[in-house]
């Protein structure tokens, strides 16, 4: 059963996965090449600046991969009113878990591309003496970050259903409105507090807050 679900999701997602793999594989090398041509490799702070830029790319790619893989299967199922999944001889919850597992498994593909891209990018660059290359570390961070973002996107999609986009936009505007009101009334930002809970250890999104540097101190 899992094999079938995985195969179906692979068929649906293979084009975008190809794009993610291409981006994960090439973009770090391209950013480092362009970055190094603009800065002096001896100026270590400049090298760290370029790496920070490449790191931001990995974070964004993790989000894009995750949300793409989380939302697409649901949208396809919803367009057919979930007839396929509901007619299967397994409970809905079991089916959703298989879908979840299949998407999470597919995230390994861009992770491997990140690893290989990172290895090639750092092997072909000058690494200053006081810095080190971390292609493996970045790949593992990428895997965890994409898993977290994938599961959050999956949760939103499968709980809010066809209203997921509206719920996401509504949440966004609610946050803006609360923040605006709180600021105007002169109180401490609540949004900042909630944001800190989610983005600092042991919050789920603290992985995005870490250093994503291919070459770092």
């Amino acid at each position: 059963m899992f094999g079938q679900v995985l195969y179906t999701q692979w068929k649906w997602a293979r084009t975008e996965l190809f794009l993610y793999v291409l981006a994960a594989f090439l973009v770090p090398t391209v950013i480092i090449r362009i970055g190094y041509s603009q800065v002096d490799a001896y100026s270590i702070s400049n090298v760290l600046g370029v790496m920070g830029f490449a790191g931001a790319f990995f974070g964004v790619l993790a989000l894009v991969c995750a949300f793409g893989l989380a939302w697409r299967p649901y949208i396809i199922d919803a367009s057919l009113r979930h007839v396929g999944p509901l007619s299967l001889p397994v409970p809905w919850a079991t089916f959703v878990r298989l879908r979840f597992l299949a998407g999470a498994t597919l995230l390994l593909i861009p992770t491997i591309a990140v690893l290989l891209g990172g290895v090639i990018a750092t092997a072909t660059s000058v690494v200053p003496a006081t810095l080190h290359a971390y292609p493996g570390g970045v790949a593992i961070r990428f895997l965890f970050a994409s898993l977290i973002a994938y599961s959050a996107g999956f949760l939103l999609q499968y709980v809010a259903g066809k209203h997921a986009v509206r719920v996401a936009i509504g949440l966004f505007f609610l946050v803006i409105a609360v923040e605006l009101a709180v600021t105007l009334l002169g109180y401490e930002s609540m949004v900042l507090r909630v944001w800190n809970v989610f983005t600092t250890w042991p919050g789920p999104f603290s992985i995005f807050n870490a250093r994503w540097m291919l070459i770092d101190v």
């Binding site: 002096d40 999470a104 006081t130 810095l131 570390g137 959050a152 709980v159 009334l185 101190v217």
Partner: protein
């Protein structure tokens, strides 16, 4: 219809004329005389502003009662009608806690430090464009002292504590030998060093363009002392920086727009990597100490932490070079202090490597929780 068009045209012409009359005039070269007059005027305005601030400060010093609030030796002066009962209570709590934090750094000397002068507190409220009032509190030293701190809304006990600790650090600075303060380039640290401060120092050490900093990174204690600016150097440029570093130094500053020969030399240094030109240009400016003021302050903070409560008192009475005085304060030899500092800096290096097993477990747990909850609702 024709009348309407004619009226529109006349409006358009009038608006064009007004726009032409009020548009910015093209810049023209200024003579030396004009520039001198402008410079003198600016200096006079600056002096007037400085005098006004001083007069305002003196007015507040005279106006505020001397016994507004006291927590231990720390005294605050403010107008009760201005500060209000709520802020007064918060200020008292913040003062008490700040004194206990400062006590861990300065020991018994904290009482003497806090008694040096009182802190003036002024509360200002803003209603402009707001639905409700927004508080701001200014804390400043009564004897001037060169430091004041503004606490923006929302005014919390934590923010007040930080402000008070900053001012205690300023008061403590006045007693410390001037060559240590000159070396540190700031005030005496009044609170314990945080992990973030050490982390910044680790990044500074690893990313410094100075060759001496790399030697320090590799493990040489004398190199660390030199990179921190604690030892005498005969030729700072060649002793601290390698020729590649000269280029980075030159590229880090922008020459004036009309210094054409310097601009050309700079381009030759950076683009053609002409070492002699780089050296000449680098020598034309003061050579910076390889490690930043913030990094140096970690050594200062470590010396106070290492020496315990009597460290500050020992520092005040110490003599010699800044390194000798810091080691006297710490109660260890200079080399041991620098070795410990280097170990602490390297230990704080931020981790770009993979997450730890605990972190990985927590992230997997979050993923599973989200995935499990997702299956609870049928479409």
């Amino acid at each position: 219809m024709c009348d309407l068009t004619s009226r529109r045209r006349s409006w358009f012409v009038a608006l064009t004329l007004v726009a032409a009359a009020t548009s910015p005039r093209p810049a023209h070269a200024q003579s030396t005389g004009e520039l001198r007059i402008r410079l003198l005027a600016a200096t006079r305005h600056g002096q007037i502003l400085k005098d006004s601030v001083k007069a305002l400060h003196e007015m507040r010093t005279l106006e505020f009662p001397s016994d507004s609030l006291a927590t231990s030796e720390l005294k605050f002066r403010f107008l009760k009608s201005n500060v209000g009962a709520d802020l007064q209570a918060t200020l008292q709590a913040a003062g008490t806690h700040a004194m206990s934090v400062a006590d861990s750094m300065f020991g018994d000397a904290v009482r003497g430090i806090a008694g040096t002068t009182s802190i003036l507190a002024t509360r200002s409220r803003s209603r402009f464009g707001q639905f409700s009032t927004v508080d701001m509190v200014t804390l400043e030293l009564a004897d001037g002292g060169g430091r004041s701190t503004l606490i923006r809304a929302p005014v919390t006990q934590r923010k007040l504590e930080d402000g008070i600790l900053d001012l205690l650090g300023t008061m403590a600075t006045a007693r410390v030998p001037s060559n240590v303060i000159q070396w540190a380039g700031g005030w005496v640290p009044s609170r314990r060093l945080t992990h973030e401060t050490w982390e910044d120092a680790a990044i500074d050490l690893a990313s410094s363009n100075a060759a001496i900093a790399r030697t320090c990174y590799s493990g040489s204690v004398p190199a660390c002392e030199s990179a921190l600016g604690l030892t005498d150097v005969h030729d700072a440029l060649s002793e601290w920086y390698a020729p590649e570093g000269w280029r980075i130094l030159v590229s880090s500053w922008t020459p004036p727009k009309d210094a054409y020969s310097v601009i050309a030399d700079r381009a030759e240094c950076i683009e053609k990597k002409a070492t002699q030109v780089c050296e000449r240009l680098a020598r034309s400016r003061p050579v910076p100490i390889p490690l930043s003021f913030a990094t140096r302050s970690t050594l200062f903070g470590l010396a106070l932490e290492r020496g315990g409560r009597p460290a500050y008192s020992r520092l005040v009475g110490a003599k010699g070079t800044p390194l000798q005085m810091l080691s006297t304060a710490a109660g260890v030899s200079p080399d041991s202090l620098i070795r410990e500092w280097r170990t602490r800096v390297l230990a704080a290096t931020p981790k770009s490597a993979s997450p730890s097993p605990v972190e990985a477990t927590v992230f997997i747990a979050w993923t599973l929780i989200f995935g499990f909850v997702a299956g609870r609702r049928r479409p």
